[in-house]
């Protein structure tokens, strides 16, 4: 294998995983705040949940315990249930208002 031009460490520090998780969470939050399509907003929520899962797995590896994996498993289960109910809500909103813009759905506004 040829030598790489930059010296890479043989093993990755744990903080790289955590910083990647922070980046993914912030990108998801930015999409959540900036996008108007309700389906894309929903996908950004899934992205934030995935970033949190990565943190769980990284800390589980650091502490050498299984609990982080269990918690991320539960996060996945809750995300699946949330996706089912949320997409049903999106279907109902689209049926009643025939729009997917989050700004248009404002019937609860005073």
């Amino acid at each position: 294998m040829p030598e790489l031009p930059i010296a890479l460490p043989a093993h990755v520090p744990l903080s790289w995983y955590l910083i990647l998780s922070v980046i993914l969470f912030v990108v998801g939050a930015a999409g959540f705040l900036l996008r108007r399509n309700i389906i894309t907003v929903f996908m950004c929520i899934e992205l934030m949940l995935n970033a949190v899962n990565l943190t769980f797995i990284a800390f589980s590896h650091q502490l050498k315990q299984v609990d982080g994996h269990i918690f991320s498993f539960f996060v996945m289960v809750v995300a699946a249930a949330e996706a089912a109910v949320g997409l049903a809500i999106i279907l109902t909103v689209f049926k009643n208002r025939s729009t997917l813009e989050v700004d248009e759905v404002s019937s609860m506004k005073l």
């Binding site: 990755v12 993914l24 894309t40 996908m43 990565l54 299984v66 994996h69």
Partner: protein, 164 residues
């Protein structure tokens, strides 16, 4: 080798995540999300989570994304219109978010000792460990998730009925 794999898949994940936010068509966003989830599954493997990587691929990249794409196709969702007053919102939100990013990265970098490295193979969690923890210590939450899923199914059926 670990660092190379990490950097490759982290770059794929971040690129796909940014692409998710920037694309205007929901189908493109959904495909970018599949890319994020696939590369995160590889990162879980590097952290020794065999079971959770498989579940990530099956549940997230398989089931949930099929649900998303099904709904996008069902609603025939087109591209978003050009945002009109989004500039003000972006001007306020983006600096705040990058401040959040900087604070988070600083906290992570200052709090974790740099001697903690992730060696592939030093700690591997397979189905056996997950199962034994799930059915002894975490039995009650596991049973609660079954009720949660049942309620979610019933709620989805009630919401997606014809008249509401």
């Amino acid at each position: 080798m670990d660092a190379l794999l990490f950097l490759l898949f982290a770059a794929i994940a971040v690129g796909c995540a940014i692409n998710l936010v920037l694309q205007t068509h929901p189908i493109s966003s959904a495909l970018s999300l599949v890319g994020v989830m696939g590369s995160l599954a590889v990162l879980y493997l590097l952290l020794g989570g065999e079971f959770i990587a498989a579940v990530q691929l099956i549940v997230y990249a398989g089931a949930i994304m099929v649900l998303f794409i099904f709904v996008i196709m069902l609603l025939n969702a087109g591209a978003e219109q050009k945002p009109t007053r989004n500039i003000l919102r972006a001007a306020v939100a983006l600096p705040l978010l990058f401040t959040l990013l900087a604070i988070g990265a600083f906290l992570v970098a200052s709090q974790t000792p740099s001697t903690d490295v992730v060696k592939f193979g030093s700690f591997i969690v397979g189905g056996r460990e997950i199962g034994s923890a799930l059915f002894t210590t975490y039995l009650l939450p596991f049973e609660a998730t079954s009720i949660l899923i049942l309620i979610a199914i019933l709620g989805a059926i009630v919401l997606a009925r014809k008249e509401i």
